[in-house]
Symmetry: C2
């Protein structure tokens, strides 16, 4: 199959997306790959595989690549003197834009509007996972526990320190701080406010264990291994980013019973909502209760490192993509009105 990886975007996670796409280039060998870069101005470029290096983007060299337009069924460009329109040939697109544009529903909506087959969360599941307040409300609806929280308009909360403060609509820990006293709270509030107007706080729970599980529904359920995340207190954006390749992950020590319970919770979140997406759910475990921390509808490099055979997962998902419901428009109501009017 030929996958078209769409990455970049007007997003705080623009650079993460570039690294994410470069990582996938090395991880996918059986399938053909093409790359579409969305630059910070939201222009589309076709990037040759050999140019998939971070410097190519940071230096602006990418601007010499073929410029694309999104259109029905895919992307096109104008060729030669006579500007003949040529389409990019591929089987399935992969939405790999992290944060805004990719995970807020913009690109998913465009892909659906233009009838482009893609591995991507849809608009509604983006809205649910992009806004942490909605994530919590949704998880409760599905019978999954979440950490309690408070929406704040100033650095003041009902919770005792330490607390964790988060902009409601960002991933990759951007703008997130753990705060131990009021001074830190004041500062962290201003930081969070730079990223979103909607800010939440949660109690920072000591001794919580974190488990990540990725997966999708492609005819049957496909689950990754469970990753037990070992952290020193809290990984901020930069640490997480520099550590993006995740060389050392802990995949061997998870209790079978816990694994089953994590999968049950994953299914509750995913079912009838995240179809067509390969997502990662990040769970907390405390006093034997599983809490959903967040839903990553487009995890970094699609969490390929968690799967035994990532390429098979991609292929299965690609072959089981659900189509949008067909709507018949036959103008029967307008015709009735016309008749009623005697026209």
């Amino acid at each position: 199959m030929t996958f078209l990886i769409i990455f970049g975007g007007s997003s705080f996670e623009h650079e993460i997306s570039i690294v994410s796409a470069i990582t996938l280039k090395d991880k996918i060998k059986k399938h053909n790959l093409k790359f579409v870069f969305v630059d910070k101005n939201r222009d589309f470029y076709l990037i040759e595989k050999e140019n998939m290096k971070s410097k190519f983007f940071s230096t602006g060299e990418y601007k010499n690549s073929i410029k694309l337009e999104i259109t029905k069924g895919g992307f096109k460009y104008k060729k030669g003197l006579f500007k003949k329109e040529e389409a990019i040939d591929f089987d399935v697109a992969i939405n790999l834009i992290h944060g805004r544009d990719g995970e807020d529903g913009k690109l998913p909506g465009m892909l659906e509007f233009f009838n482009i087959k893609a591995i991507t969360p849809n608009i509604e599941s983006c809205a649910i996972s992009y806004n942490k307040v909605l994530t919590k409300a949704y998880a409760k609806l599905r019978g999954v526990e979440v950490i309690e929280y408070e929406i704040i308009n100033k650095p003041k909360t009902k919770f005792d320190f330490p607390i964790i403060i988060k902009p409601a609509r960002l991933g990759s820990s951007i703008g997130v701080s753990v705060v131990k006293n009021q001074d830190e709270f004041n500062y962290a509030f201003d930081v969070a406010r730079e990223f979103d107007d909607l800010i939440i706080v949660e109690p920072f729970i000591e001794g919580v264990e974190e488990y990540n599980l990725a997966g999708c529904l492609a005819d049957d359920w496909i689950f990754s291994k469970v990753e037990k995340v070992e952290k020193k207190e809290f990984l901020d954006f930069e640490k997480k980013y520099m550590d993006f390749s995740r060389k050392e992950i802990n995949l061997n020590e998870v209790d079978k019973d816990l694994e089953e319970r994590l999968k049950e919770n994953f299914k509750k979140i995913y079912e009838n909502e995240f179809e067509n997406a390969l997502i990662r759910c990040d769970f907390f475990l405390k006093d034997d209760i599983i809490y959903l921390n967040e839903i990553n509808p487009i995890p970094g490099s699609l969490a390929n490192y968690l799967f035994d055979d990532f390429e098979v997962v991609l292929e299965k998902l690609a072959k089981n993509l659900k189509k949008e419901k067909e709507i018949v428009i036959d103008y029967q109501y307008i015709n009735k009105i016309q008749m009623a009017k005697g026209k």
Copy 2:
């Protein structure tokens, strides 16, 4: 100002949107209007004002109009032999696509992606109002009461008859039925399932009063008059549609105190979520408690009939549109990695 009204769409409410746009053509006189039709295949057409008649669309005549493409800042077409690209000139777009494409977040996302100024709900507020389950969860978060409900997978419910059954993701009462016994329930369930996989039931409450209130935040709050909706039991899609021009509405009998309470509830729903949209909230009143029934983020003809001076409302909203947050992308993380690698 020149408004560009975008209507049609691949939606069960495609025809409603056409009627909605035609109605607005007659209601807006001070401002210039241009019209972009999204046909059932999601092709864009520029429709001349004199062609804004329902028959022009139902007969397919619209296909002779200029075909447009969406692009940065607006819409463009190819002119003449040399296919020179020309842009459509306008100040502010109005998203008037009811149902899918317009109210599910697709067009709103595209408008934001392409940096097109528009009166429209955004993606997140679309997701909230498009899915009735999310609407209810959201209203509760905002401290607004809603009618209790149950998600069902078969025609079976904990509620006593009569009940009301609804596909979760459609407006304009499409697929909605009031059901008085199990036979009707079985049939109505199948009808609802044609429109969505997610079905809810609510108790059908006799003697409930319905009040509609439209408005927006444009620097200051702007509210419409309150409409007390007089219904014979229940208006189904066809009745509502045939009655679309709403000649006889009841705007004079609403108690001042009730009006204030409706406005307070409207503000709770709208604030920090529905910016840039002119919405209509439909409330129920029963035993002196106000319930949110639904949020119409793009009401029919923008509920112009409820406002004293609709054109002033449009203009104020257009002049106070909030821009998307700017994101600076400066490649500092990639540059750091490059340095760390010694490249």
